[in-house]
């Protein structure tokens, strides 16, 4: 018997009643974590499309050195809205979407710890997004960049800036509420017998993510409240004309926003750690290394923020400190990358769309990580700060990392979520177009940055024209690449072939129920017959050996490979009192 069969026969999915819901449920205040997960995933994807349109407008303006497409003021609003939407309405909540859908299933719970709070957290997102976009209609869209540095942000338009602050405050609150839910759920609601070391790695990643959300997002809220006072009430916290100090805003902002880049990548590190072993048919390499490096990243991530401020006039010793801590972060990140490579190494790879995106993730993310270490070096950063080199870096990690990770997650869990398979051919077309488009768009930006082209400027020196033209073409290709996915997803959701419960022969618990899962996830309390990544491990002569995996009277006690009940237990320590003779 394979490990997958072992796990499946331990958890027979009996429910005939599939968790198919009425379409109206998805538009309502529903407390089922699966509905909320889908709400998150679909809503954020819509915002991704909006943010993508804005990106292509930006790139269209940059196709030529002159401002021949939009005015510089409109250009400023375009890149501000693009970045704000992509960060706060796409990548951050998309991670929360996967977490909502997957965590309870992975740990064998029926729902999140606070289902109603969960729904509240979701329903803050659409109003916040609409609020932000409505600023376009008001005619005063925020235009001080996603960083919203004062004093610039205080002089470019009160209404737009106020809308921006409101919207980001709402989104921040939503993600804090989400994080509380994830932490309590993972910590308290695992099935009995699932130790932390038997949790899927995605849960570890979400612990790390939620911890930084909880600790850093409030500081941004504090900064935005003060900024709001400066903007609307005439205080001068960040306004040098009244004795205030804009650098303090930068510290507070980056105290959140550097950890936020890990909020934007750790969940997808987690997804990748799930996807690679399943499709490589090998145990994950270095379970504990991956688990602990997530925690290390989230801790170190809290003490590196000023690497965004090397040119803001901070003292030399501070530059030194932040340069060193920033470079140290590359170590736990590197540990993860090596573990993933070792997981795939020598595996029986199934090169389907999910796996391709996951491997693409590792490849492109490494490029972004390397440019990150370059930027961490103060002498280098002084030259390329605020140039396209930074833009190249952040898009390699955020697009090449987070976005590819999200797509890998879509392809991997689509069968579970919808009960139907995505079309593989169009999935591969999607992958090919994305990976080419992404490198075409962002690779040349490294060169632009080295040549000295500033970011956030609508006009530029004609000598940059050719490379910009290439970038713009790449961005159009990226826009095109989304269509195969959208059409594939809609078509497959309606007519795709039936997926069955466990199409990938995976071992984690979300695959041990029907697809889509029943309303309360599992009919019976699930048990662990294998570890989460025991792929390809032999279990000697299976049928003949009676491995007492379960205690008939108390299955809750019979979980886990370390359970005393797996082998013949020493009667003295037997879990069930009746056996202690």
């Amino acid at each position: 018997m394979t490990q997958a069969q072992l796990q499946e026969s331990a958890n027979p999915a009996q429910s005939e009643e599939h968790g198919v819901r009425k379409w109206r449920d998805y538009f309502s205040f529903n407390t089922d974590h699966k509905v909320i997960g889908i709400q998150y995933l679909v809503t954020t994807f819509i915002f991704y499309c909006i943010g993508g349109v804005l990106a292509d407008l930006v790139r269209t303006e940059l196709r030529t050195p002159e401002t021949d497409f939009v005015s510089p003021e409109v250009y400023n609003s375009l890149f501000t809205l693009h970045a704000t939407i992509m960060i706060f309405l796409w990548i951050v909540p998309a991670g929360a979407g996967f977490a909502n859908y997957l965590i309870p299933l992975m740990i064998g719970a029926k729902d999140m710890a606070f289902p109603r709070l969960n729904a509240v957290a979701f329903w803050m997102i659409p109003p916040a997004g609409l609020l932000l976009i409505s600023s376009l209609l008001v005619g005063d869209a925020p235009d001080a960049g996603w960083t919203s540095y004062p004093p610039l942000s205080l002089v470019t338009g009160q209404v737009g800036e106020a809308i921006w602050i409101m919207s980001v405050l709402l989104l921040g609150t939503s993600s804090i509420l989400g994080a509380i839910n994830f932490l309590v759920t993972i910590w308290k609601m695992r099935i009995p017998g699932m130790t932390v070391y038997q949790m899927p790695l995605f849960c570890w990643a979400m612990i790390a993510t939620s911890a930084i959300t909880l600790l850093s997002t409030p500081v941004l809220a504090g900064a935005l409240v003060l900024l709001g006072f400066d903007l609307l009430a005439g205080t001068t916290f960040f306004n040098p004309t009244g004795g205030g100090d804009p650098i303090v805003y930068q510290h507070m902002f980056w105290f959140y926003s550097h950890p936020a880049v890990y909020i934007m990548i750790l969940p997808f590190f987690g997804l990748i750690s799930e996807i690679l072993p399943v499709h490589a048919r090998k145990p994950v390499f270095g379970y504990q290394a991956i688990a602990y490096s997530s925690l290390a990243i989230s801790f170190l991530g809290l003490i590196v923020w000023a690497h965004h401020m090397f040119t803001s006039g901070i003292p030399g010793w501070l530059r030194m400190f932040f340069m060193i801590t920033t470079m140290i972060i590359a170590v736990p990140t590197g540990i993860k990358v090596f573990s993933w490579v070792a997981t795939v190494w020598g595996g029986k790879l199934r090169l389907n769309s999910a796996m391709l995106f996951a491997m693409g993730f590792v490849g492109t993310f490494v490029i972004g990580g390397i440019s990150g270490v370059m930027l961490a070096a103060v002498p280098f950063d002084i030259h390329v700060h605020d140039t396209y080199f930074v833009v190249a870096h952040l898009h390699y990690v955020l697009f090449g990392g987070s976005v590819l990770g999200i797509f890998a997650g879509y392809y991997h869990w689509f069968p579970k979520i919808t009960g139907r398979m995505l079309n593989e051919f169009w999935g591969k077309v999607h992958f090919a177009l994305t990976i080419v488009g992404l490198n075409l768009t962002f690779l040349p930006m490294h060169k632009l940055g080295m040549m000295g082209m500033n970011r956030r400027i609508a006009v530029y020196d004609p000598k940059f024209e050719t490379i910009n033209f290439i970038c713009t073409m790449g961005s159009y290709l990226l826009a095109v690449s989304t269509f195969p996915f959208i059409i594939n997803a809609i078509w497959s959701w309606m007519y795709g072939s039936k997926a069955g419960n466990n199409p990938w022969q995976a071992l984690t618990l979300e695959w041990m129920t029907t697809s889509p899962p029943a309303i309360e996830n599992f009919d019976k309390l699930p048990v662990l017959a294998t570890g989460p990544y025991d792929y390809g491990m032999s279990n000697a002569d299976d049928e003949e050996v009676e491995v007492p995996l379960s205690d008939e009277r108390e299955p809750a006690l019979a979980a886990g490979p370390n359970s005393a009940l797996r082998a013949d237990p020493d009667p003295k320590f037997a879990a069930n009192p009746e056996d202690r003779k």
């Binding site: 027979p12 999915a13 710890a113 839910n181 932490l183 504090g222 303090v248 008939e552």
Partner: protein, 206 residues
């Protein structure tokens, strides 16, 4: 797929699951854990603002800036004592409900609420007598925003206590086994108290 080809009954592994039916009745209560995490987040907002305050302090040549009128210490001092003692008072409410003594709990909560209200009134009185306004200078702004933000929290705590009082009219709503509301209000009140101590130290004493 695979799961259909294997009949669980015929494998070596024969599982009998317990129904997880008891789930709904004894849904374990994680709300206190959740509340504590929420307060960690709240604490970080204050942490950020206090950090900003200290940064302004260290950047400006003199603090408070030249010409800021002196702060009166007597009223806020008394207020501080009232708020801190109210933390002990509300703890008595918690002890009472753990002994299933609802009337006593109500008394202690009512006293706490009164003390909270006195604190807020005192703060408003202080505001009305100060010689600087929100935009006078950086110190003044920080003073009003920080104390105001804290006062908002006191107000929320007060509302929470009153809500518990209101609900406890129904006999049996709270008991020695079921008293999340009382406990939550108490924890929140302690939090507001601790924040005030730091705030008082920063604004009035440092």
């Amino acid at each position: 797929m695979q799961s259909q080809t294997i009949d669980p009954a015929k494998t070596a592994l024969n599982y009998h699951h317990t129904e997880a039916e008891a789930h709904h009745e004894e849904h374990p209560d994680h709300r206190i854990t959740g509340l504590i995490m929420f307060l960690v987040a709240e604490g970080m907002i204050f942490f950020g603002m206090f950090g900003a305050y200290l940064a302004f302090r260290s950047v400006l040549p003199s603090w408070p800036p030249e010409g800021t009128p002196e702060l009166e210490l007597l009223l806020p001092g008394v207020n501080t004592i009232i708020l801190i003692s109210s933390s002990f008072v509300i703890h008595n409410a918690d002890t009472a409900i753990k002994k299933n003594d609802v009337p006593r709990m109500r008394t202690w909560l009512a006293i706490t609420a009164a003390m909270g209200a006195i604190f807020l009134a005192g703060q408003l009185y202080e505001y009305s007598n100060l010689e600087f306004g929100l935009t006078t200078n950086l110190f003044a702004s920080a003073f009003y925003v920080l104390t105001g933000f804290h006062g908002l929290h006191v107000f929320i705590g007060l509302v929470a206590i009153l809500a518990v009082l209101w609900r406890s009219r129904v006999s049996g709503h709270y008991s020695n086994e079921k008293h999340f509301g009382v406990e939550a209000a108490e924890i929140y009140w302690h939090f507001v108290d601790v924040v005030w101590i730091v705030l008082f130290g920063l604004l009035y004493i440092l």
